[in-house]
């Protein structure tokens, strides 16, 4: 397998290039299979997925539950070991490396999860959690804790007063901002946001969506934005990939896909979208 990925129009390697990625999960054999001594065909949770993502780009990944969105995200940073294909960061295959090199590749891709409560240490103050992330990866500036934490909190539009608090003392929106700050602590080039705004109230969700756009503008960070809500993806993504049963069934610029969906599943998702305007009700019948 070559270690050099394809190039984008400017002649540089894509920030992220995923090629024919496969992840299979074996199903447990039931009684009938055990008696007959037959194997159960494995389920492909991620089935031959390929896409690219450039610097500063926001790519939305949409799909229903069980479509493989989260498994895909986890395979990208090898939280789950993929069974086939390649994931290249700047042309470097993440599957071909281990140890310090893998850690460095993972630093460049940071993940933000749906439940910030589960991804923050409840016994650590916000400041300590942010500083630890910086120190582990030897980030420049992390030796001066106060300035380091203050800069990060500023990036996610929180005040320094948050630093001495524990996660349980924060609101859901504040907690998710802290999760994002923790991801930013190691200067990533790509943020993988897995349903990062799904559990939030709409007023707070809108603030967080604005924050992702701000971060892209200020830091040039790329975002892989996973959501089951098409409308949320419409708010932030430049391009969209729609997944169904582990495959990407349609991909393209968000406007093009939404205005002229070609795949049946994309059409079904769009038709089922509950529009907030009562005049746009899904026709009965």
């Amino acid at each position: 397998m070559s270690d050099i990925g394809s190039e984008n129009s400017s002649g540089k390697a894509h920030l992220l290039e995923v090629e024919s990625l496969v992840k299979e999960f074996g199903l447990r054999r039931g009684l009938a299979e055990r008696v007959a001594r037959t194997q159960v065909a494995p389920q492909r949770a991620v089935d031959d997925v390929s896409f690219t993502l450039d610097r500063g780009e926001i790519l939305g990944i949409a799909g229903g539950s069980g479509s493989g969105k989260t498994t895909l995200a986890r395979c990208l940073i090898r939280l789950i070991e993929p069974d086939g294909g390649a994931v290249r960061v700047d042309g470097i295959d993440i599957r071909a490396h281990k140890g310090a090199e893998l850690r460095e590749l993972r630093r460049r891709m940071q993940m933000v999860f749906q439940d910030p409560y589960a991804s923050l240490n409840p016994r650590m103050t916000v400041g300590a959690a942010l500083q630890e992330a910086g120190k582990v990866h030897n980030r420049p500036g992390s030796e001066n804790e106060q300035a380091f934490v203050s800069r990060l909190l500023g990036l996610v539009q929180l005040t320094d007063r948050i630093a001495p608090r524990k996660p349980r003392e924060l609101s859901g929106g504040q907690r998710q901002r802290v999760s994002i700050a923790r991801a930013l602590a190691v200067d990533p080039e790509l943020i993988i946001a897995d349903e990062a705004v799904s559990a939030l109230d709409v007023s707070v969700q809108a603030q967080l969506l604005n924050l992702f756009l701000d971060l892209r503008e200020e830091l040039g960070v790329a975002v892989l934005f996973i959501s089951h809500q098409l409308a949320v993806i419409a708010e932030v993504a430049d391009r969209i990939a729609v997944m169904q049963k582990g495959r990407i069934v349609e991909t393209g610029p968000t406007l093009e896909v939404f205005a002229h969906p070609k795949d049946e599943y994309t059409q079904a998702l769009l038709n089922a979208h509950p529009h907030p305007d009562p005049r746009m009700r899904i026709a009965a019948g």
Binding site: S171, L255, F258, L269, H273, P276, D277
Partner: protein, 336 residues
């Protein structure tokens, strides 16, 4: 007379520093056959209001003041037997998590039949036949086969259909639906909303639909009440609320709703700053004032009483910054 009348409902939770008031004097009425939406963010008191109708406020919370009347009858004054009858025949309820509401060790058909035997005194044979008919009515294909399935063998949407079958088994006149589609995929959500609409059309069943998602509310409701910080801040026909919201909170909420029309035109929304109030925060006057861009000193003395601002349209904001401003411009219309 309205089918359901809620008057000055107050729900409190005890705490060491005195009672925490989660619902602070809510008035709401539902007419026969009407679908009313209750929309609000988490902690606004919408679910509690809904549960209070059945007197199912979770411990240690309690209804400390107000009245709930169903068909003129005082629900809060009902005795044990009367309450049981009321819950069995007059109202049905479905929740967010259909798996949690079904017994995992019983076949779904038997669960429906049990309801019919207990509540309607049917024989086993008649209950089985009626349960099959109910499964068919809620759109489950091959009811004979599904009758024998356990909840874990069914999808979330299918389980919610079974719940709808159980809760409508005795043709209730009112359905309480608390976030019935929140845990479901968008395509399944559309099917369940369609089914609930069909039940209303065929049975004349009224419904209180609680949701945090204005999209869901807009799909199904005739009228909507917007809740914030334990108060209803605005009520009106769903079209009026969407196009001409009067209360600054309603307007801010609607402006935050993500829309498909934003595709290809990525831009920041005028997002509402801050976050909804915690239960322990006591805000004098208007609860929304700390986040409101139109707040003024007098807002600390606002009573939060709903005042008439149009035909069947009430708002709790006496400042009325948008009065006469006409329809809210949606993103779509700006582009056009």
């Amino acid at each position: 007379m309205s089918l359901l009348e809620i008057e000055s409902l107050r729900i409190e939770f005890p705490s060491e520093e005195g009672p925490l008031v989660a619902v602070k004097g809510v008035d709401l009425a539902i007419e026969p056959g009407e679908i009313v939406g209750l929309v609000g963010e988490s902690g606004s008191g919408k679910s509690l209001t809904c549960r209070a109708v059945m007197r199912m406020v979770p411990e240690p919370g309690s209804i400390s003041a107000g009245a709930v009347r169903f068909d003129g009858e005082d629900v809060l004054a009902m005795g044990k037997k009367q309450l049981r009858d009321f819950r069995a025949h007059s109202v049905g309820m479905i929740y967010q998590n259909p798996f949690g509401s079904l017994n995992p060790t019983m076949r779904v058909g038997a669960q429906i039949a049990e309801t019919l035997k207990v509540n309607r005194g049917m024989s086993s044979k008649a209950a089985r036949a009626e349960a099959l008919a109910l499964l068919d009515r809620v759109g489950i294909e091959d009811p004979e086969h599904r009758y024998r399935a356990y909840p874990h063998e069914l999808s979330g949407g299918m389980c919610q259909r079974v719940m709808i079958a159980i809760s409508t088994a005795s043709s209730p006149r009112l359905m309480l639906a608390d976030e019935p589609t929140t845990a479901l995929d968008v395509t399944t959500q559309a099917q369940i909303l369609k089914l609930l609409g069909k039940m209303r059309a065929e049975e004349g069943m009224a419904m209180l639909l609680v949701s945090h998602d204005f999209g869901v509310i807009a799909q199904a409701c005739d009228r909507v009440a917007v809740m914030y910080g334990g108060h209803i801040v605005e009520t009106g026909p769903v079209e009026t609320i969407y196009h001409e919201p009067e209360h600054p909170y309603t307007r801010a909420l609607l402006n935050s709703v993500p829309e498909l029309d934003s595709a290809g035109n990525v831009q920041r929304r005028a997002a509402l700053a801050g976050h909804p109030p915690e239960l322990s925060e006591v805000i004098p006057g208007c609860v929304f004032a700390p986040r409101c861009e139109h707040a003024r000193p007098e807002c600390a003395e606002v009573s939060m009483k709903l005042e008439k601002v149009g035909a069947d349209h009430h708002s709790a904001c006496p400042v009325r910054p948008y009065a006469g401003a006409g329809a809210r411009t949606t993103k779509q219309e700006i582009e056009a």
